[in-house]
Symmetry: C2
Subunit: 221 residues, 2 copies
């Protein structure tokens, strides 16, 4: 077990020795392969997740199976919705899937609950984290309501390229559609339009970015 | 000054006598006429709002003037984004407008900040409130991404009717469009469709609901 959590949990240093011990004795590490669903809705209460390696996407699901990505967790990011039984006022089902092979550290729900109810630094950190999640959600709303689809798709391709550190994205049009909350046909049409403008190159199951600058300008326009 | 805040602030009874006095000595009441913009973006830091009478809508604004409503504040609701200078990790500009004549109680930002940094009950309440705001945002995303416009419009008309306690809504198609983040033409077309199905009756600046049950069934379908 690495000591990564000691410097990665923003509130760790502000805790009492007993509280620190409570975490150190109970936190555990878990490794997931790419594409694993690690959290399924509000019934699922694994505990607080702290990402050490990899990337996770958090998304919601409609009754008819449509998805939209709400935010992504990267190394040092923390998610509390995976401890939804501990949180109040969470009235939605959130799902999480690993984008790459991922290592997380988990604080079990009962430990998290104890700290949340007795420690001001933890309570304060939770409200900060929640505020940044509200910001994430507002960003999604702005994207969906205010931004046209070509810009959203360009931004998404660049983001995935940064996460995977590659210009060659192994992804289907269906997967992209699920991230952006739209239909596969809409994605295919726009990707073909991008290809005809020499922004990307398409092959079966692969989107290769060939003009990063142009995609960037489009996403920011 | 009424003592409404003493029983309406969920954390009030859990505070020390000094903390209670700090609030009682500094909270003030403010009355706004319908249609007043009471908060304009993250530069604006009035303090924590507690609504006693009336209704407020919180919305975001695109560069080209499009709006979408994120949530509404009704009596006993509390908003902290109006104290955005005190909150961390808020990276968006939120606006608030009174829907009816409204009375709010305001805790000034410096008082709110002191309590937030020293009181566990306040810090815990903030994280709960933030969690319910995240839920509000997810609801908006679900509406916008997963629900077709006829259902959203039906739900909106019913909600306004409940808030104003009347079946006759004094509102323009443009105002409805701003609430729902769409174009006026889209609203006009759908309202005309509703009218042709005897769900509503349209007159200049007025939408009258004539079949509440049918609208309800549509919104839930």
């Amino acid at each position: 077990m690495s000591n990564f959590f000691k410097e990665a949990l923003p509130f760790y240093k502000k805790l009492s020795k007993e509280e620190q011990k409570l975490i150190a004795n109970n936190i555990y590490e878990k490794t997931f392969l790419k594409g694993t669903i690690i959290h399924s809705g509000s019934q699922d209460c694994t505990g607080l997740f702290l990402v050490e390696i990899g990337a996770v996407r958090a998304y919601i699901l409609s009754e008819d199976g449509k998805e939209i990505t709400l935010y992504r967790l990267l190394p040092r990011d923390i998610c509390m919705f995976s401890a939804s039984c501990v949180m109040n006022n969470i009235s939605f089902d959130i799902f999480m899937e690993t984008i790459t092979d991922t290592v997380v550290h988990v604080i079990p729900p009962d430990i998290f609950k104890t700290l949340k109810n007795t420690s001001l630094p933890v309570a304060d950190y939770i409200s900060k984290l929640m505020a940044s999640r509200v910001s994430d959600m507002v960003w999604v709303i702005e994207q969906v309501v205010f931004k046209s689809f070509d810009k959203r798709l360009a931004a998404f391709l660049l983001e995935m390229s940064a996460i995977e550190d590659s210009n060659t994205l192994a992804t289907t049009h269906d997967q992209i559609a699920k991230n952006l909350g739209t239909a596969r046909e809409v994605v295919s049409r726009m990707l073909k339009y991008f290809e005809s403008n020499n922004l990307v190159e398409l092959n079966r199951g692969v989107v290769r970015i060939i003009d990063t600058d142009a995609l960037y300008n489009l996403s920011e326009s």
